[in-house]
């Protein structure tokens, strides 16, 4: 990774894809399942968004497995693919650190569903371990 006047030059495979994303409090958000690129005014490619979830990850499996994962995931959800704007990325180290809080991002519908419908109903889910 080298710094240029326009930003950081990244090897997507080595430095970004599949890396853990953590929020400003150190909580785990997701993996960088895929990214959306945009061409800047200078003609260079910039990372615009982090794409999240099986519909983003599926195509990266290649082959029939990828087609299946994506097809199943698309049947399970018609909402847009969850994304994180790259503007909130603060640092890229052994994890991708965000300047935002997990609670404001709302990028994990399955986590929300499992929490609201299953885990919250079990006694003790709100308490820290003793």
């Amino acid at each position: 990774m080298t710094e240029t006047s326009h930003g950081r030059v990244l090897d997507l495979n080595m430095h970004l894809l599949d890396r853990q994303v953590v929020d400003r409090d150190g909580r785990f958000v997701c993996k960088v399942d895929d990214v959306e690129l945009e061409r800047g005014a200078d003609g260079a490619m910039y990372v615009a968004k982090i794409l999240i979830g099986p519909r983003a990850l599926g195509p990266r499996f290649r082959g029939r497995l990828g087609v299946w994962v994506r097809a199943i995931a698309e049947r399970l959800s018609t909402d847009p693919i969850p994304t994180i704007d790259f503007a909130v990325v603060e640092d890229i180290g052994s994890a991708v650190k965000l300047s935002a809080s997990l609670d404001d991002l709302r990028v994990a519908p399955l986590e929300d569903w499992v929490r609201d419908h299953i885990v919250s109903r079990v006694p003790g889910s709100r308490h820290a371990s003793e």
Binding site: A95, A108, V114
Partner: protein, 408 residues
């Protein structure tokens, strides 16, 4: 305080080293092959020390668990294949541990183990759900020290230690056993000592407890002192079986036969301690394998995991652990003999070993992550030698399993 922390860590590592796989495999092999396969346990011990230290160092420096980095290094496709294989092996081990706890409780109470299984499963879930990580780890590890009853029994048997040592140093296959069976059990012992979940758990535990670079010394002491002492218990088990079971032609296919030498040589009180040790060691390992299944899945998919947050903040992780627990309990309740599950789980562990250990070696050499803490040359040389051994054992395991009909 620091000294106390170090001592506690080492004691935990000793007690935590032995699980149902080590108990059954060491006794079984001791009863059939004497000490002629002890070398496999010793080789496995050196391997687990090397790789657990690496995974702990990676966790302390990067604050990432092992599986987190597996996907990053192998890519999503190979990472997923790795996840599925590692998960299945760990879940199978989880089932074996639950069955082991139930069998140990049957030994103590004469109540059929199948009646204990649901209770054991529920209690394991309750602890994972509610109890602090350090208490889980240290509690099980310390109570597991009761397995030293094997050492006491060995001492009471007044063996010719020189003769036992000679059998270890100059291994000689018993004439009644075939060479393929001998190597099959060498791989089983190797798999039992190096079970993959141990490194998932060790590295994820490092993240749970918030290790940083300054905790590295403590982590290293735990590994380099605690694990070898834990492996000594494995050797005690094998030696007890060699002295008591082998001369009488008793083969091990139940947990009570594992305990027999202790009851024979050291009496009731030692047996009571031993059963306590069985329960603690297998129950502790049940918690470790259950958590490890959740760790592996959560770290691959990037979910919040761990006991350092409230359960509702790591919903998918806790659900994954719960579903695994239900599946593992279901498997034991089919009345498949838990000792058989154990025998297979250690061999499947050996088959899955390269999947875990290869990425750890790669990551601990990556200067991007590790900076000055990356592997030195001597360590890399040793670790590479071990990787070759691991791959050979993994490739040979299935043909040997078929050839020997799983060691018959």
């Amino acid at each position: 305080m620091k000294l106390l922390q170090v001592a506690l860590g080492i004691l935990t590592a000793i007690g935590g080293f032995v699980d149902i796989g080590d108990l059954v495999t060491n006794a079984l092999v001791g009863a059939r092959f004497g000490m002629s396969l002890a070398w496999a346990t010793l080789v496995g011990m050196v391997g687990i020390c090397l790789y657990a230290e690496m995974s702990g160092r990676v966790a302390a420096v990067t604050r990432r668990g092992t599986f987190d980095l597996v996907r990053e290094r192998l890519g999503p496709r190979a990472g997923l294949a790795n996840l599925i294989a590692s998960y299945l092996v760990t879940a199978l081990t989880f089932a074996a541990e639950i069955g082991g706890v139930a069998l140990a409780l049957e030994l103590a109470t004469s109540v059929n183990y199948l009646l204990w299984v649901p209770l054991v499963a529920f209690f394991a879930w309750l602890l994972i759900w509610r109890v602090n990580f350090s208490i889980l780890e240290n509690g099980a590890g310390l109570l597991g020290l009761a397995l030293l009853a094997f050492g006491f029994a060995l001492w009471r048997l007044h063996p010719d230690f020189g003769h036992l040592a000679h059998q270890i140093i100059a291994p000689h296959k018993p004439g009644s056993e075939r060479l393929t069976t001998y190597w099959y059990y060498a791989i089983a012992l190797f798999g039992a000592a190096m079970t993959p979940y141990e490194v998932f758990f060790f590295s994820s535990g490092g993240v749970e407890e918030g290790w940083s670079r300054k905790d590295l010394m403590v982590a290293r002491l735990n590994v380099y002192v605690g694990f070898p002492l834990g492996a000594t218990i494995s050797l005690f088990i094998a030696a007890c079986a060699t002295l008591v079971l082998k001369p009488r032609g008793i083969e091990v296919d139940t947990l009570s036969q594992v305990a027999l030498p202790v009851a024979f040589a050291a009496g009731k009180v030692a047996l009571a301690f031993l059963i306590l040790g069985f329960v603690a060691a297998t129950f502790g390992a049940a918690l470790e394998t259950g958590l490890s299944c959740g760790y592996a899945a959560a770290q691959y998919f990037g979910w919040q995991w761990g006991k350092f947050v409230r359960p509702r903040q790591a919903s998918r992780f806790h659900l994954a652990v719960l579903l695994t627990l239900i599946a593992a309990t279901g498997l034991v309740l089919t009345t498949i003999d838990p000792v058989k599950i154990t025998e297979y789980s250690v061999v499947f562990s050996a088959i899955a070993l390269p999947l875990t250990y290869f990425p750890i070696l790669v990551i601990s050499n990556d200067p991007d992550y590790m900076g000055e803490q990356k592997n030195g040359r001597a360590l890399n040389f040793l670790a590479t030698v071990f990787l070759v051994i691991i791959v050979v054992a993994s490739v040979a395991a299935i043909p040997l399993m078929i050839w020997t009909r799983a060691g018959q």
